[in-house]
Each structure stands twice: as C-alpha cells, then as structure tokens.
Amino acid sequence: MAMIELAGKQVEVDEDGFIQDPEIWDKELAEALAPLEEVPTLTEDHWKVVNMIREYYLRTGVAPMIRKLCKDTGFTLKQIYELFPTGPAKGACKIAGLPKPTGCV
C-alpha cells in the first residue's frame, strides 16, 4: 500500500487511490481527493452526491447502487457523470472516502 500526502496528512491508499481507512475522512480530505478525479472544486451539487454516498455507506457498510444514488440525489446518470467524469464508482466513491467498492455503483 502506498502513502500519499493529502491535505497536509500522510494517507494510506490502495493501488487505485482509494483511502484505506474510512475513519480518517473529512471535508478537507475530500477536497484534496477531488482534483485527482478530474473534479477541480467540489460544488454544492458534488457535495450532495458525496454526502449521500457517505451516509449510505456509514449506514449499510456498502456503496449505494447507482439507481438509488440517482433517485436520492435527483440527478440523472448523465448529470452524475458531468459532476464526476471518472464515474460514480471510481470518482464519487473515492472522494466520499469509501474503501474500493467491490459491488456495484
């Protein structure tokens, strides 16, 4: 596992750049992860998606399925990809500080 510097902290990430310890996630870390996924700054819309994923994950232990994500945030799949060009699984989940999703999104 590699260590990278994010928001002034040394953070352990896996080979795809997902943080290993979801506990250490905070807003600053999300903002530092965002540019790595082609998101220059996190807008309110980005946060809506990130927060939904985060809350769902903390509640259930897994990432939400895409349809659930679209339904709950009110965004279409297209809008999600406009917000997160690298996709919900790779981009949005990474920024939301989830460990690598094995299932869906």
């Binding site: 895409i66 690298t86 996709g87 790779k90 690598k100 869906c104």
Partner: protein, 475 residues
C-alpha cells in the same frame, strides 16, 4: 428512457496505416527464427512449456515471441515495461505451482466519462514481477461481424505494443477485441488515441450493457432473415449511455443472429437474443429435391465431402431428423406441414438448393440466457416468436425498455435477467411485457402443454386455500 431519432450513420474514417504507424518494418520484424529458437526468457517455466507440446498453437509460444520482440526494441520505444511478457509467463508458472492465481481480485480504473470498458488488474507479487504490477484489460468494441482492414489491425497492434503489453485476444466471448495488460497512466492516452485518431470506441464491462454483437448476416450469408449488422449498429448507438455508464444490477447482453443457426450463439449467451425467422412457408424446389436424392447435388453444400458417408438418404438424413416430424415424402414430392415446423433450419442446411426459408421474415426475441455463475447455465426463452421491425426498430426498443425498467426496479445486485425471471416467475415477466402466454414460450409445446391461470381469469372466481389443500395432500 426516451426514444431518440436514429442519427445518421457516423461515416467511417479511412485509416491509413502509414499515417498512424509507430514502428518501422525493421522494428516489427526484429528477430530471426534462429534467435527465437535459442531464446530463453528470464524464468524457468517448465509447466508452461508442457503447453507448447503437441500440434496446436500455444499462447506460451506466442508470448515468448512477444517477449523476444519487446526485448529487442529500444528502451524508449515502449511505454509499458518491456519485460511484461516475461513477467507474465513467470507469474503464470508460479500460479500453476501454487495452484492459485496471483492476480489480485478487482481493481477500479477507467477512462474519463466512461464507467466501463476497462478492468483493473494487479499482480499480488509486484516486487517479484514489476513489469506486470499493473496489467489492466481494455475492451474494444469490435466492428460489426468483425470485418477488418489490415490497415486498422496494424494500427491498433502498433498502438497496443507502444502503450500496452502488445498482447491481445481476438476476440473475447462477448465479441470485443481484448487488449491485455497496460498501466493506469496509459489508459487515458490509449482511449484518446483510439477515439480521435482510430475512430474506435471501447466496449462495455461491469454492470452495463455489454458490447452488442451480431453474426455476419446479410453481408455474406444467404440465410440471413434480417439485417443483423443494421440492427446491432442501431442498438449500439442508441444505447450508448447504457453501454458506457453502468447503472444496471449486473451485465446485460444483446446478440443478433440472422437465422436460427445462431452463429453468435445468442440463445446461449444473451439476455435478449434476436434471431431471424419467418412466418410463411419454407420454399421448396422439387426439382432440386430430386437432384439431392439422385446424388447430383451434395448435401450441406459439400461440407462433409472427402469421406464416404454412403449415398444421400433423404428419409434418414432429413425427414427422420426433423425435430417436429412435420416432413414427409408423398409420391416422390417433399411436403412440409409448416404449422408444425419450429424453424430449426436442419432441412434447409442439409439441402440449401432445394429448401429456403419463407419470404415473410422478421425477428424472434428470446430472454434470459446466461453462462453459469450461480444456478448454472441457462438458455434464453422465446417469448416473442415473431415480429416485424424496421429501422429505427422502435417497436423492439419499446420491449427492451420495458425489460430494462423492470429489471432495474426489481433486480437484485448481480442478478441477471434470466435469474430475475426465474425468481419472479415467467407469468410476471409476461405481464411486464404486456404479452399473452402462448405455446411457443415453453420448451416442448407439442408434448408438454401447460397453461397459466390467475384467479381473476377463472369465470365465477376461484378460491384456493393452500392450508386446506395440505390437510389432504401432504407435501
């Protein structure tokens, strides 16, 4: 989901290898037979070398050639570590010794704007095999029916040698060209180069619509009963979002076979199989039937010649082989009871000059095939035995979309359509599609008919108490 009008076909870009080539002829042919014979990769691979024995082609021999070729290229002429082919063989040997794979499970990598088409692959022994620490797969949307020009093949081979391992698979079981092995940094440049220079899209992976594929159809085949290439193209273009941005419970495949011979095996592999069929009568040329019987025409267009099978016997080889027993010879004339024919193609394949499918052609739709994962393999079931359709195929899209909507609503994570149909029952799915049950929908309508009853269909109503029933009929 909404209907899009069909766009004009994207004109095909003419690719000239000389304009896009990366390597010189000397670099491509950079070793001699002699060198290959004496070439040793840097690992001992005795178990793999077993696989080189015998008369068959071997991926081990191929990979060795690739290893030698890469070793002899200058260092700055490849962007993926040069020794990847050698490390690949080294790791595989070790995996065989250990009885388990040394690829890690999963990996999420991708290209900008797409959620599929790239599969992350990492070695779990990156220190030992550094050249394949990353070895991601890319799926490339093959052209319809896999027609290629050599210029195109050379161009992709150069690109993949330069930015990837050089190792590819023509084709994966879904139909894509598979690029095997590159690093994360190279994914985006390859994607950009493919899209903007080679005019080539990548395919599907993960929980999305997988790259649709079709048989050679009207391009070459006399049996094609609808234009498989046209329909495959339209569906690929229409469902771009579904193809590139995974939002399904699991994978979903479309396959288009021009006739029931099923050359892309749609019935075995596709969640929706589209198979060409006809609803009028098989056309019979009685003169040609006589010519087959007299041995003047070779059965199966001569496909079995070269061995003595004895004289052609129409009774034994055609009439008795008809699965529905709907053929007979009457006064030297072949007669077919077309109402009983299930379009198996056997008689037509055997005597193509004498028998041809009818002229009122269309497609049948079958649903729910899959390869074995949880419950074992499953063939798709015929729910729409015949429909007429024309580009842009709106009536077919309507059915597809009803299917998508239901599956996305009800399907569990990683549940294929066929499994959902099994779990919820075929009657439920028929209701979703809005079609009445019919004898075609069961495997053997002629020997095993059954009927779906729902309480509201029974005149006067039906009351049925399972508990009361069980008091008399123990399980």
């Amino acid at each position: 989901m909404s209907f899009k009008p069909p766009g004009p076909k994207v004109p095909q870009r003419e690719i000239k290898y000389d304009e896009v080539r990366i390597y010189t002829d000397e670099e491509i042919h950079n070793y001699t037979e002699e060198e290959l014979k004496n070439f040793k990769i840097k690992y001992d691979i005795p178990m793999l070398e077993e696989l080189e024995k015998g008369p068959w082609p071997s991926f081990v021999a191929d990979t060795k050639q690739l290893a030698l070729h890469r070793r002899k290229l200058a260092d700055d002429r490849v962007l993926m570590p040069k020794e990847c082919a050698e490390d690949l063989l080294g790791q595989l040997q070790l995996s065989l010794e250990h009885g388990e794979t040394h690829w890690k499970h999963g990996g999420i990598v991708g290209v900008s704007g797409y959620g599929g088409g790239v599969i992350g692959r990492y070695s779990d022994l990156p220190e030992r095999f550094p050249a394949i620490a990353h070895f991601h797969t890319m799926r490339i949307n093959q052209p319809n029916s896999k027609f290629y020009k050599t210029d195109y093949l050379r161009a992709i081979a150069d690109l993949w040698n330069f930015r990837g391992s050089g190792c590819m698979n023509m084709h994966g079981s879904t139909g894509d060209i598979i690029f095997l092995g590159t690093t994360t940094e190279q994914l985006e440049p390859i994607f950009q180069e493919m899209a903007h220079v080679l005019n080539q899209d990548i395919g599907g992976s993960g929980s999305n619509l997988r790259t649709p594929s079709c048989c050679i159809g009207k391009a070459r085949c006399e049996f094609a009963l609808f234009d498989t290439q046209e329909m495959c193209y339209e569906m690929t273009m229409h469902y771009q979002d579904e193809l590139h941005r995974p939002a399904f419970p699991y994978k979903f495949k479309f396959k288009f076979d021009g006739c029931p011979n099923g050359c892309v095996a749609s019935i075995a592999r596709a969640d929706i199989s589209f198979i060409g069929t006809w609803r009028d009568d098989i056309r019979i040329d009685q003169e040609a039937v006589k010519a087959y019987m007299a041995g003047e025409l070779l059965p199966n267009a001569g496909a079995h010649r070269g061995r003595d099978w004895g004289k052609f016997d129409i009774q034994r080889e055609v009439i008795d082989r008809c699965p529905t027993k709907c053929m007979a010879l009457e006064d030297g004339k072949l007669v077919i009871n077309n109402a009983e024919c299930n379009r198996c193609m056997h008689c037509i394949n055997t005597m193509p000059r004498a028998l041809r499918p009818g002229t009122d052609t269309g497609v049948m739709l079958l649903f729910g095939a899959k390869a074995p994962i949880l419950d074992g393999a499953q063939m798709s079931v015929c729910l729409i035995p015949f429909m007429k359709t024309e580009p842009p195929y709106d009536n077919v899209k309507e059915i597809i979309e009803k299917t998508f909507d239901w599956w996305m609503e009800e399907g569990k994570n990683r549940e294929r359509l066929g499994e959902l149909i099994q779990r919820m029952g075929l009657p439920k799915f028929l209701e979703v599609l809005g079609i009445p049950p019919a004898p075609h929908m069961i495997t053997e309508p002629r020997s095993n008919p059954y009927i779906f009853w729902r309480a509201e269909d029974v005149p006067g109503g039906l009351t049925f108490d399972i508990n009361e029933y069980r008091t008399k009929h123990a399980r």
